[in-house]
């Protein structure tokens, strides 16, 4: 599914959060959505997921509006992983992952064989198959995030939107989850992840979208993320380096002022 926004704007409580956002999302691409706190990253993700209505501009899914495609139709093609993902009941991991099949199920029907296979694939891909009978409340932060990602993968949607999937995790889990997301993109999905870690963003993403104060400052390959842009968006000076041909970006010191 191709998603296109043109001149997209959004308001929250009367304040303009997004302005004139142009974004094209295509299958097979890993997109990092970066920018300082309050830049509108989460709101952009929520608008694209159909959770917040845009206040201006257009949003098209394969050329169709949300009304034309329908919430249930969109749910089969787009999977959304919210920032503070938490299970409100102590559900078992496999039951949580099975929730991802709800958009595909008929009313009152149980899980089909295909649903079971999709759940199994998601459990394996997110490396939580061995945790399937544990309840989510008993998992560590990294395990819980993997279980929630498995839930999002179980939808087997063409688009996966993940809001800060690695922010609360230790380095090992950050790397594992970034690998998981890129491999999901390699398998043909469009993955958009909100990221704070510029090194992870530059290293794992095919494309970076830098938001600042609700506007797109950059939409291009990680190599285009210049020092000037980082200074303008974040107000920090960054260190750069390279290891085995892969660039890294380290925010180093706040700009004086």
């Amino acid at each position: 599914m191709r998603i296109e926004t043109r001149g997209l704007g959004a308001q929250l409580g009367g304040a303009t959060v997004l302005e004139d956002v142009r974004l094209d999302l295509r299958p097979g691409e890993m997109v990092g959505l970066i920018g300082p706190n309050g830049a509108g990253k989460s709101t952009l993700l929520r608008v694209v997921a159909g959770l917040v209505a845009p206040s201006a501009g257009s949003l098209r899914y394969d050329g169709k509006t949300l009304n034309e495609i329908g919430r249930a139709g969109l749910a089969r093609q787009l999977s959304f992983l919210p920032q503070d993902g938490e299970a409100h009941w102590p559900l078992r991991v496999d039951h949580v992952v099975a929730l991802g099949r709800l958009p595909h199920r008929r009313p009152f029907a149980g899980m089909s064989a295909h649903d079971h296979e999709a759940v199994e694939r998601a459990l394996v891909a997110a490396e939580v198959a061995h945790l399937r009978r544990r309840t989510v409340g008993t998992l560590s932060g990294g395990e819980r995030m993997r279980a929630l990602i498995a839930r999002a993968l179980a939808v087997e949607a063409e688009t996966l939107l993940a809001d800060e999937p690695v922010s609360a995790l230790d380095p090992l889990h950050q790397l594992r989850i970034m690998r998981l997301l890129t491999s999901t993109a390699r398998d043909g999905a469009c993955v958009v992840a909100v990221l704070h870690d510029l090194t992870l963003a530059a290293r794992f993403c095919d494309r970076l979208v830098l938001l600042s104060a609700g506007r797109v400052l950059l939409d291009g390959p990680p190599s285009k993320l210049s020092d000037g842009l980082i200074e303008e968006a974040y107000g920090v000076a960054a260190l750069r380096g390279e290891h085995c041909g892969q660039p890294f970006v380290l925010p180093w010191s706040p700009l004086s002022g």
Partner: protein, 350 residues
């Protein structure tokens, strides 16, 4: 962590041994359904008058209007059927409200429909219509519950969240309670006030088959609305954003559950008065048996509520206490300590 979070159950409780897979769930539902049926039949056999039930049944089949047949059809049968219907309504609505609000301490009347139904019935009683027309009392209750649901939806609107729903429910309950007290306050005759107070305590005594026929269709529509929300309640486990992204329309879900609980609980309160704790306790006991899945909890919790209510009503009749304990008093006496233990356990887990 907010107070709201603190109330959420984070870890499985002791009973989590029984893993309810597809087959296990079906077995659980069938066992509870049969148990509910057995309790309903058992309820026919319990009463103050000695009654040869098979004989009474045979008489009524042959159209003989013998005394045993009359006792069975006019007294025992409506009591048993209403026990079953009201218990089921309370259980399924309790489970639905707990699922919607994602809080194990929610009870069926949390959004104000029970208080409003009680007020409607009390007004029918006070105005004297109930004395002229026997179904006025339950009808008044049903009207009260439906008005409360409309008011609630008007207050909460389309976009509002869970907290607004709870607050609006508290406001409606408080206001209905104040108006009920006002009616009692203005009651010219202490006997009428006494009768209202006793009615409010909740009971299945002296109900009739016309009352069953009045509430049955309303309850069935309510149950359908509540039971058909199963998948959406499952999705809500992961929060409102995730539920929406899984294709569920939350404002429609809220409307569906408000209407369903107004019909199910409103008509339950309208015929029996307020019977507390059944709708709180039934889902809580059964939740571990369905692996805490809110969708699967609905039906079994309905069965569980019916079993609990029929059991309490049987106990009320067997206890050597006179005058007979009101059913609502008995369920609260058993239920309140249960609530204490629940709070204690949640506090430990927080």
């Amino acid at each position: 962590m907010t107070a709201d979070d603190a109330m959420m159950v984070k870890r499985p409780l002791v009973l989590d041994k029984a893993h309810a897979e597809g087959g296990g769930y079906l077995r659980l539902a069938i066992v509870l359904g049969l148990l509910m049926l057995a309790m309903t039949i058992l309820s026919l056999f319990v009463g103050y008058a000695r009654l040869d039930v098979p004989q009474a049944l045979a008489d009524s089949f042959h159209g003989a209007r013998s005394l045993p047949a009359l006792v069975l059809i006019e007294l025992r049968l409506p009591r048993a059927l209403l026990g079953c219907l009201v218990g089921f309504s309370l259980g399924v609505t309790g489970a639905a409200m707990q699922g919607l609000l994602r809080n194990p301490l929610a009870e069926p009347g949390v959004i104000g429909v029970s208080g409003a139904a009680a007020l409607g019935a009390v007004i029918a009683f006070y105005s004297g219509i109930a004395a002229v027309f026997s179904l006025a009392l339950p009808l008044g209750g049903v009207v009260g519950a439906i008005l409360a649901a409309i008011l609630l939806y008007a207050l909460v609107g389309r976009g509002a969240g869970t907290m607004t729903l709870i607050l609006a429910g508290v406001a409606i309950t408080t206001f209905a309670g104040a108006l009920t007290s006002l009616v009692l306050n203005l009651s010219p005759n202490p006997y009428a006030a006494m009768e209202i107070v006793f009615w409010l305590m909740g009971s299945l005594v002296d109900r009739s088959m016309p009352q069953v026929w009045l509430v049955l269709p309303l309850m069935i529509v309510g149950w359908i609305l509540l039971l058909s929300s199963a998948a959406a309640l499952d999705a809500l486990t992961l929060g409102e954003d995730t539920a929406q992204s899984l294709g569920f329309n939350l404002s429609r879900l809220r409307l569906q559950l408000i209407a369903g609980s107004a019909l199910a609980v409103g008509s339950a309160v309208a015929v029996t008065g307020a019977i507390g704790f059944v709708g709180l306790v039934a889902p809580h006991i059964l939740r571990p048996f369905v692996d805490h899945r809110p969708g699967r909890l609905l039906l079994v919790s309905g069965f569980g509520g019916a079993i609990l209510l029929l059991g309490a009503d049987i106990v009320a009749r067997l206890l050597p206490i006179y005058p007979e304990l009101k059913l609502g008093v008995l369920t609260s006496l058993i239920g309140a300590p249960f609530l204490f233990s629940l709070i204690y356990r949640l506090r430990q887990e927080a």
